[in-house]
Symmetry: C2
Subunit: 255 residues, 2 copies
């Protein structure tokens, strides 16, 4: 499985992806799921994929290859992030058309999703979610984040913390807690985590962090969060119910 | 959707279910998803269902109706919880056979799951999960709980807290926190919660609590947990990363 998150805050963006892939539990490997397309001062784009790895990789390969043909519309010359999302959707459709039938013959799921975000000179920062069918949506202001892959375990902390004006450090912390919760509950999501940040109008990536098992900061966050939750749990009051019993049972037939 | 949880601890069992059902977001209603079959001093059985409501209701209706025929094996006269799970699986198969084809014609999912647990005189407490196909499994000691329906949001707290020797009050608290997390993240799970407890060898239900929106204890748990999480989050240290930037971007082709 995979877990990827991207946030679009007022002052910048944050992208994070795990790097575990599995084809059955007996075939687990480590693949980077985040790709950067940066022309410093002109555009900074981050793409993360989840789903069938051959589909996501090859869609990105097509996008990259098309980028070598400057006479055509490509990721390096289109004027908006909207067009980038469009190009990515088209590449995804092309790969699925090429491989989908053959995967279906063996009941292999060809589903794949992307998060693509960043900024192109002359435009604001934008963040899109590209569905398996190649259509896409743009993030809103109310809950300014997208997740793909194993999204549920890590969503509650994002729901509680992330707002458009959340400070960057809090955003990083909430994303790491979100990954920690996900990795605890789903073994097929795992370290290392690739995390990168982008500041509005900088047109270059700010931070590119590769968080491995030995990362002392991540270990500290994970442990403190776990200990903290235990503390809060221990402080919850007990119910005073255990005296009152109310008999509404269904009785056996008397016949 | 639905959320149901059952725990089998060393000293007793705990069952909880929400009561929201929906057929599309414009058709939301309130149905009890928990049924008790209690012959005091002889057997105490609790069944909770998730999935297609007509399927789960009718499977239980069949089970209940068969219970009025004392000359046949039924929920009131079989000697083990294993047989109860078997009977429930058979009823589920019967309903799906009767209705499944017609639902499939309109692409309506006929999936349904049950949790069934309790104790019959002469036997230990037992807890089973009945799958949509009517087969079933029994809970183990390592993670002594089952969930059905919208299981993911509420699983982390159970993973952290529930062990076979968890005290009953802690078990109740963790189940309420689990429901709180689920209801925050999935609108199709909602109050009231039906919660009941069973003490080993009592052969009668101990507590039957119907937790509505106005329940002061649940509101308190929900608020304290939320405030506590915010407190723990606020106490997490900030990363010291935001100076170090590492340039590994992919550059545009120079051609």
């Amino acid at each position: 499985m995979t877990y990827c998150v991207a946030l679009k805050l007022k002052t910048g963006m944050l992208f994070a992806s795990d790097s575990r892939t599995n084809a059955g539990v007996d075939q687990i490997s480590c693949f980077k799921k985040m790709r950067h397309f940066v022309n410093p001062g002109e555009r900074a784009i981050v793409i993360m994929g989840s789903g069938n790895l051959s589909i996501t990789q090859n869609a990105i390969n097509l996008l990259e290859q098309a980028g070598r043909q400057p006479d055509k519309r490509n990721i390096w010359n289109v004027g908006s992030m909207f067009e980038v999302a469009q190009l990515l959707g088209i590449c995804l459709r092309e790969v699925r058309e090429h491989d989908g039938v053959f995967l279906a013959q063996n009941n292999v799921d060809a589903g794949a999703n992307f998060i693509v975000g960043g900024q192109i000179q002359g435009e604001r920062m934008r963040l899109f979610l590209v569905y398996a069918e190649g259509n896409f949506i743009e993030v809103g202001d109310e809950s300014p984040f997208f997740q793909i892959g194993e999204t549920k375990y890590g969503k509650p902390i994002l729901d509680r913390v992330i707002r458009p004006d959340t400070p960057f450090n809090d955003a990083i912390k909430s994303v790491l807690v979100s990954f920690d919760s996900t990795m605890r509950s789903n073994l097929s999501v795992g370290l290392p985590i690739d995390l990168c940040t982008y500041r509005q109008d900088s047109l270059i990536l700010e931070l590119q962090q590769h968080i491995t098992q030995d990362d002392p900061y991540f270990s500290q966050i994970s442990k403190r969060w776990s200990d903290g939750l235990r503390g809060v749990f221990a402080s919850l009051p007990n119910p005073d119910w255990l005296e009152s019993t109310d008999a509404q049972d269904q009785s056996p037939p008397t016949a």
